[in-house]
Symmetry: C2
C-alpha cells in the first residue's frame, strides 16, 4: 500500500555517496551519472559540507532511498540583501513516482528556503512537469535560457 506510506526526509549523508550508492543511481535516472571514485566522493562531499547555502535532501521508503532534491540559497544585493532559493535536481525513482514523494520533498525545500529568509523560490522544469509544480504551489513565471560550454 505505497500510497499510504509517508517517506522519511533527511539530509544527504557522506555514506550515501560511496560504492553502489542508491543516491547516485537515482541521480542517474535524471541525467547520466557514474559512480564517483572514493576520492571524488570525499572531495564532492567536503565541498558540499562547507557550503551552508546548499542543501540536498534524501527521501526514504522502507529503508530504501527513493528520491532526492536540492536547493541552494542565493544572496542578492537587490532589496538590501534579499535571498532566493533555487531548487535543482528533483528526482524520484521511476518505481515510486506515484506515491507523492516528489511533492513532499519540494515542500521540505520550500521550508528550508523559508527558514533561510528567502522571499521566493524558483526552479526550471520541462513543460510536462509544470502541472506537478503547480500542485506544489508554484506559478509559471519566466523563460529559462541555456548556453552549452564545450
Amino acid at each position: 500500500m505505497d500510497s499510504l506510506k509517508i517517506p522519511i526526509i533527511r539530509d544527504l549523508d557522506r555514506s550515501d555517496l560511496y560504492s553502489t550508492s542508491d543516491f547516485i543511481a537515482i541521480l542517474n535516472e535524471l541525467s547520466e551519472t557514474q559512480q564517483p571514485s572514493s576520492g571524488e566522493c570525499d572531495k564532492l562531499y567536503n565541498q558540499y559540507l562547507n557550503n551552508d547555502d546548499h542543501h540536498i535532501i534524501i527521501a526514504e521508503l522502507d529503508n530504501e532511498i527513493v528520491g532526492t532534491a536540492s536547493i541552494f540559497i542565493e544572496h542578492k544585493f537587490l532589496h538590501g540583501g534579499s535571498r532566493v532559493g533555487h531548487i535543482e535536481d528533483v528526482v524520484v525513482t521511476s518505481k515510486r513516482r506515484t506515491v507523492g514523494v516528489g511533492k513532499i520533498m519540494v515542500k521540505r525545500l520550500i521550508k528550508i528556503a523559508e527558514d533561510a529568509n528567502c522571499y521566493k523560490v524558483i526552479l526550471d522544469c520541462k513543460e510536462n512537469n509544470i502541472p506537478f509544480y503547480v500542485k506544489c504551489g508554484f506559478m509559471p513565471s519566466q523563460y529559462c535560457m541555456r548556453i552549452d560550454i564545450d
Copy 2:
C-alpha cells in the same frame, strides 16, 4: 558617439556599495533597492567576498557605472560533480541600453563560467528579453516556476 565606446568591465569593489552608490542605483532600475546602511554594506560585501562561487561585474563608461550583472556557480553531484553557471540580475542603466553593454557583460559572465569548468550557463528572463539572450548565444530551454514566500 556612445555606439563606438567599449565599456570597461571589472569586478564589484567594496567601495561601490556605500552612500549614493551608482551600483545600488542601477540595481534599483531592475527592482526596488534602497541604499543599505554602512553596516549592511560591510555585511553584504564580506559575505560576497567569502563566496568564491559568486561573481558580480560592473560595466563603466566614461568613469561612470552603467551596468552590472552576476553569476554564481552551482556544484552538482550529477555527472560526477558537474558545474552550472547561473546568471542573475543583468541590468544596464536606461540611459545606455543601446550601446551593447549588456551583451559585453553577458559574454564576460560566460567566460567566468568557462574558467570555472561549467558545462552550461542558464538564466531566467521575461519573454521580451528572449531575443537579446538569443543574440548572446542562448537558446530557450525550460520554464521557470516561482513561489513567493510571505
